[in-house]
Symmetry: none
Subunit: 279 residues, 2 copies
DNA sequence: AATTTCATGAAGTAAATTTACGTAAATTGT
DNA sequence: ACAATTTACGTAAATTTACTTCATGAAATT
């Protein structure tokens, strides 16, 4: 279990001096890494041995182990999108891209509105039909999402064709949920489709790579994703990663909420077994 | 920038004794955290001060800072994949999913073979044609990749249909690169397609969510992705994230390698402007 | 009220890291 | 080719840092 969690749990059982240490650590865990034991002791108003005893009480060998453990489990400061240019080594470019994705996920973690998320899960659980709309790169995400969600046993569609989207959206009703995916919330077609779906009575959930956009007011609920990338559209990779992550979370939560759904999943899994060589 | 990457980059400029240190660290970064400086010195066959000088050369204050940094950037064995169950709150599930993705990216960062990556970029730069094959969830990744790469101005296809894949693969030649995507490297169809492509003379790059699989020996080059998820197929979300990240990196590096390609991209961008409301 | 227990810090110890310095090897210039 | 200079690296000393022992005083118990 994580050190910070362990500290939190042990907190009530600690003596006054040791509790001061615990509170100081919980207040700013990242700072500890730069302290030497004496500095921390001073900050807490206790002595060195108290720090050591505290560390041992939470199951560590000593202060050094605390520092190393904290370094290991603390979220790294959110990486602002690092730009790359042609002089960079492949390894460097790779690193920059991966960092960008990680940073985007970290931002997502901090930004997602939990209540909104829960409401979205509610809608999805009760939906008789789920449609995923997106164009371009978001179309891929839509397809991927449909690929997951259709296993819930609910009717799912991911139409990438405008015409199909139009007639499908206009046939929806109040038991339908639409997931509208858009990087910038300004693509004409997705806006039109969302408007149609909304007019037909469906609940429209926007997953949009921006804070404000023409698409926002058309949605019944809109997740605005972190968008630190000031890059041209084709280079905005992280948005898609974040969209997928959010959809994953929605999917799993919806899945766990409903045991009937889990049975469906089991049946699907069995039917897949014969397309593999092994297993 | 990450310490390990910095070490890799500085490697050629290091003197013999210091290089020994660098190599030892790269061989097993996780082990360093438990060493004291003298232990590491012995393992490398050098003296303590050499270690310190090495640390300073890569921009750190000393050995302690190296340990703390390594602890910070190495994938935590515990955190990589937290299991979830129906009792968990939505916020917790969300967190677990995002953590899983982040952890997977971290592992990827540490595991990707840089030389292989560069060779892959070489192949892609010189390819006259690139084909992406995948089924199921990997089909979505294939489509996404095709969507990016086709903007390089190179002929790209992502056939999800088995028949199309078969005839397309058999029409390839030595100027073609095939990217074979598979979560477990055991799907019969993808194996057959890769075999056909290889026989036709194309270079097959596997991006596989496993270390060993029936698909591996059929590839001219295979990226084995970190696969910490002991979950059923439908729940293996991270593999897809990691595949996308790797493809992103391949795409950007290929793009930056070739200025002609960048011009193509500029032209594509302009042609997209009129499908948006704004901008 | 006396005794015990326990929490805590002062002082000291041990260990690990870093600096200073010297030597040998490599590089450079003549 | 040989001397001069620079560089590479290890020995040993110094310093920093972490940890231990033990004494003290407070709280709890008898």
């Amino acid at each position: 279990m994580s050190i910070l969690l362990r500290i939190k749990e042990q907190l009530p059982q600690l003596k006054t001096a040791e509790r001061k240490v615990a509170e100081q650590i919980l207040k700013d865990p990242a700072a500890i890494i730069d302290y030497v034991i004496t500095e921390l002791a001073e900050k807490c108003g206790v002595s060195d041995p108290t720090i050591v005893r505290f560390c041992q009480k939470i199951g560590l060998k000593g202060f050094m182990e605390l520092k190393l453990n904290l370094a290991g489990e603390l979220p790294k400061p959110v990486q602002v999108h690092r730009s790359v240019n042609e002089d960079d080594s492949p390894a460097r470019i790779m690193d920059a891209i991966f960092d960008g994705h990680q940073g985007a996920l970290q931002s997502l973690k901090n930004q997602v509105d939990t209540e909104m998320f829960e409401k979205a899960v509610d809608w999805l659980c009760n939906a008789k039909r789920i449609e995923f709309y997106g164009f371009g790169a978001c179309g891929c995400v839509a397809t991927d999402a449909q690929y997951r969600f259709c296993r819930l046993g609910v009717a799912c569609n991911a139409f990438l064709d405008v015409h199909q989207q139009f007639w499908s959206a206009s046939l929806l009703d109040s038991n339908s949920v639409v997931i509208a995916l858009s990087t910038n919330g300004a693509t004409k077609n997705i806006i039109e489709t969302s408007r149609l779906a909304s007019k037909a009575g469906a609940r429209v959930i926007g997953i949009i790579g921006r804070n404000k956009s023409p698409l926002h007011p058309l949605c019944d609920m809109a997740f605005s994703l972190p968008c630190q990338e000031p890059a041209p559209a084709i280079m905005r990779f992280s948005t898609r990663i974040v969209q997928l992550a959010l959809l994953d979370a929605l999917f799993v939560t919806t899945l766990l909420r409903n045991s009937q759904i889990k049975e469906n999943l089991e049946r699907v899994r069995e039917s897949l077994s014969d397309i593999f060589f092994e297993n």
